[in-house]
């Protein structure tokens, strides 16, 4: 059994009059279980040179209705460059340069792919990681 933890921290000294300081940690466990997720892609990178949408994680490659976790980061440093993230053709949002996201993914159906569409036809690299279960 593996143990993987995810810690998210949000802080700001100037957004509100009272400083924002939030920290939350989750141990990444299998669906309906206290057993840790034990499969992972490792940290990978994918570089594109076209705006064509592509599949980063294919729903049919992962067991349906589980507690997979996904991390994606746009490593670009050009502020206007983004990738549009979709899941099962539902828009999640845009990751601009340096932005990242972390979310659970159920892979509920084979069509439940996570797809990315770069905004530029020049070199753009995303970093990704999935921690999953079979």
């Amino acid at each position: 059994m593996a143990t993987t933890t995810a810690t998210l921290t949000l802080s700001s000294s100037d957004l509100t009059g009272d400083a924002l300081s939030l920290s939350t940690t989750a141990t990444l466990t299998k669906a309906g279980s206290a057993t840790g997720l034990d499969q992972t892609s490792g940290v990978g990178r994918k570089t594109t040179t076209a705006t064509t949408q592509y599949t980063l994680f294919d729903g049919s490659d992962y067991t349906a209705d589980k507690a997979h976790k996904v991390y994606i980061k746009n490593t670009s440093t050009v502020l206007t460059e983004y990738v549009t993230v979709e899941m099962n053709s539902e828009a999640i949002g845009r990751l601009y340069a340096g932005d990242w996201m972390f979310f659970p993914w159920g892979a509920n159906a084979a069509t439940n792919d996570i797809k990315l569409a770069p905004s530029v036809a020049t070199t753009l690299t995303v970093e990704y990681l999935i921690v999953s279960e079979v």
Binding site: T4, A6, L8, S12, D14, E90
Partner: protein, 135 residues
């Protein structure tokens, strides 16, 4: 303008043969935001869903932090937007997500259990033409 610092650390000593220690930080420039704790009434996609982001509430870009405060993992919350088919995310009890928001869509939440508690926050550049609290 204000800055919100968002950081994520993913750590594991044993999910790979070499330790996983991933850490990322973003400094998000924004002028508005909130941290809200609320109950979710709806248990299916309908008019009882809790709206957590309204269409064009923010301009350009926005970010959503959401945590399911339920203690049972099987008590899920479901995030969807109002125009696409499918889910943006399904979050188990105790789990959280940090995702970008498509600013021109409405995001709503329903849950496995009536009155599920959630905590959420949206950061971005406020659009005075579409205030969250309505006009």
């Amino acid at each position: 303008m204000a800055t919100v610092r968002a950081s994520l650390s993913l750590n594991s000593a044993d999910v790979l043969t070499s330790p996983l220690t991933l850490s990322v930080v973003s400094n998000l420039t924004c002028d508005s935001g909130s941290l809200i704790r609320a109950k979710v009434k709806g248990t299916t996609e309908d008019a009882n869903d809790l709206a957590i982001y309204i269409v064009n509430q923010c301009t350009d870009r926005a970010y959503l932090y959401i945590k399911n405060l339920e203690t049972e993992l099987e008590n899920y919350i479901y995030i969807h937007n109002d125009t696409d088919t499918g889910l943006v995310a399904k979050i188990g009890g105790g789990e959280f997500a940090f995702i970008p928001v498509a600013v021109d869509k409405k995001y709503e939440v329903y849950a496995t259990r009536v009155d599920s508690m959630i905590e959420y926050s949206v950061f971005g550049n406020d659009n005075s033409a579409a205030p969250y609290g309505g006009t």
